[in-house]
């Protein structure tokens, strides 16, 4: 495997280290401050349902955009050019807007606290268990943990597993202390750091390299083509994956935790604009990376997932480089803490508690969920090295969630009269089963295709699973509804 960054270590100084250490200590202090406000489970898990608009903007933006987006999008634009923005990022904006304007008002009417609990409300406990399982797979912070390992290796030359464990451990400590409140407060700081540092890096790139006219001349017009060289099947997969905001567990948790519908809606719409800006900057920096490699300024002998790190090490002066790495850790930690909290809730609140058919006391819930959070991060660490590309891992996780929850949840929210327990249960378990079975099939019998850079079984790529699993889930819903209607007659 190519090394991810001898160049980065050369640029790193003591001042950069000091800035990074101050940032990490600051996160722990915020966790300690939040700990003093925790009285009951709802304070810990939903911040007492008191998140205001600015804190919602910050926590939504920083949670949803982890290292998978930051490193993954720059890696994709390094290969595919600006189509990374138009094909991969842009469809999401449509679904963010749908989430803000159509889904959030309906969710705010429910009394649920989590996505699986909402499924239980529509379809009963079995569908809720499928949703909890899918949400757990989706929320286990595999990508950001992998990303932190990548940064640590690039900056300090450390073992990636060790770096991932240290970063994830710090995020775990303040999340265990202060729950969603600590998560949201740290997210606010992390949001500002990650956005500002990406903006600064872009300003340096525009000054030193030039705009897109210069890049088009050097890299060729195809790198600036909106569709790029992607096949139609790839475009369809990306579009379907972009529907994930409609059933995003972190969005649901924040919608339930918001002070009002107005605060949630405004936050999502402001978030949409910031997400678009952030995506564009990251894609531009990926293009700059391609330019650096083409012109020989970077050797190209590194893991391309780390292209953004290499570019910024080239561009930023000492001090700002430390702030930028702190920003990358911020984007990873804000995702790790939030999704660890959700996955732990899936295990205890949505899984164990309903299975034992008893309500835990607040103290027992808090204790069990904190233990589950630690366990979740352990699982994420184990899974972190399973995927070769960050984008592939993200597509796998989103496929599981969308296949299990999208059809029943959307019908439950928008056509509740059609929401029969049997239909939702069949749909959720069929989608989940198909997604896992297809993944295992390609992993077991497939081979690595160097040209497509993924595992394939014949001409079938691992990432195409959603093209089968989503229709299967819809068919199972129809069959369940029909069977339910027949039984009623």
């Amino acid at each position: 495997m190519p090394q991810s960054g001898t160049g980065m270590a050369e640029h790193w100084t003591a001042l950069d280290s000091a800035i990074l250490v101050v940032y990490l200590l600051g996160m722990l202090v915020i966790g300690w401050i939040a700990l003093r406000r925790i009285r009951v489970f709802e304070d810990w898990f939903l911040a007492g349902r008191g998140l205001t608009t600015p804190i919602l903007v910050a926590t939504l933006v920083s949670t949803y955009y982890g290292l998978d987006v930051t490193l993954g999008s720059s890696e994709l634009s390094f290969y595919e050019g600006v189509s990374a923005f138009f094909v991969y990022s842009a469809p999401f904006y449509l679904f963010y807007a749908a989430c803000a304007l159509l889904v959030a008002p309906r969710l705010k009417r429910l009394t649920a606290s989590t996505l699986p609990e909402a499924m239980v409300g529509f379809y009963g406990p079995s569908a809720g268990r499928a949703a909890a399982l899918a949400s757990f797979f989706y929320s286990a912070p595999i990508l950001s943990v992998t990303g932190m390992g990548l940064i640590g290796e690039a900056v300090f030359g450390w073992n990636p597993v060790l770096c991932a464990a240290v970063g994830a451990g710090l995020a775990l400590i303040y999340t265990l202390m202060g729950g969603l409140l600590a998560d949201a407060l740290t997210d606010t700081v992390q949001f500002a750091i990650m956005c500002v540092t990406i903006a600064i890096a872009t300003a340096f790139a525009l000054h030193q390299v030039g705009g897109h006219a210069v890049l088009a001349e050097r890299l060729g017009a195809e790198m600036l083509s909106p569709r790029g060289s992607l096949a139609l099947s790839d475009l369809l997969v990306y579009f379907l994956i972009a529907a994930s905001p409609l059933i995003e567990p972190a969005f649901y948790q924040r919608i339930f935790a918001g002070t009002s519908l107005r605060a949630v809606r405004t936050a999502l719409l402001i978030g949409l604009v910031i997400w678009a800006a952030y995506d564009w900057l990251v894609v531009y920096l990926g293009l700059v990376g391609q330019d650096f490699v083409a012109s020989g300024r970077l050797s190209g002998d590194f893991d391309n997932s780390a292209i953004l790190l290499q570019v910024c090490a080239e561009l930023l002066p000492t001090g700002l480089l430390g702030l930028f790495i702190a920003g990358l850790f911020a984007s990873a930690m804000s995702t790790v803490d939030s999704y660890t909290l959700i996955a732990a809730g899936n295990i205890v609140y949505d899984g164990v508690q309903p299975m034992l058919k008893r309500k835990f006391s607040d103290r027992a819930l808090l204790r069990a969920t904190r233990w589950a959070a630690a366990g979740t991060l352990g699982v994420a660490l184990l899974l972190a090295l399973r995927f070769d590309r960050l984008r592939d891992a993200w597509i796998f996780m989103a496929t599981i969630l969308i296949s299990t929850v999208l059809v029943p949840m959307v019908i439950g929210l928008f056509a509740p009269r059609l929401a029969r327990p049997r239909a939702g249960t069949w749909s959720a378990w069929t989608g989940f089963g198909c997604a896992v079975a297809l993944f295992l099939l390609v992993e077991t019998f497939g081979v690595w295709d160097a040209e497509e850079e993924t595992r394939v079984l014949g001409s079938w790529q691992r990432e195409y699973a959603i093209l089968i699993t989503l229709p299967a889930s819809a068919l199972a819903f129809t069959a369940g509804a029909w069977s339910s209607k027949r039984s009623a007659k």
Partner: protein, 64 residues
């Protein structure tokens, strides 16, 4: 792609830079204003609201 379009793309990059950089600082300032307002609220009101949250949540979860 003609040069004019490429200039527009560069303009979009500068715009995105302004939204992500100064824009995120505006959100941070907004958050700090909220915090200052909460801190300047009379203490008994903050305390009462926390107690209500605690009581409501305990009722819902059925303390054992």
């Amino acid at each position: 792609m003609v040069l004019e379009e490429e200039c527009q793309v560069t303009f979009a990059t500068w715009l995105a830079l302004l939204v992500a950089g100064p824009g995120s600082l505006v959100v941070l300032a907004w958050f700090l204003r909220d915090v200052m307002r909460m801190r300047s609220r009379p203490p008994d009101q903050t305390e009462r609201s926390a107690e209500t949250t605690a009581r409501t949540s305990s009722d819902r979860n059925g303390d054992e």
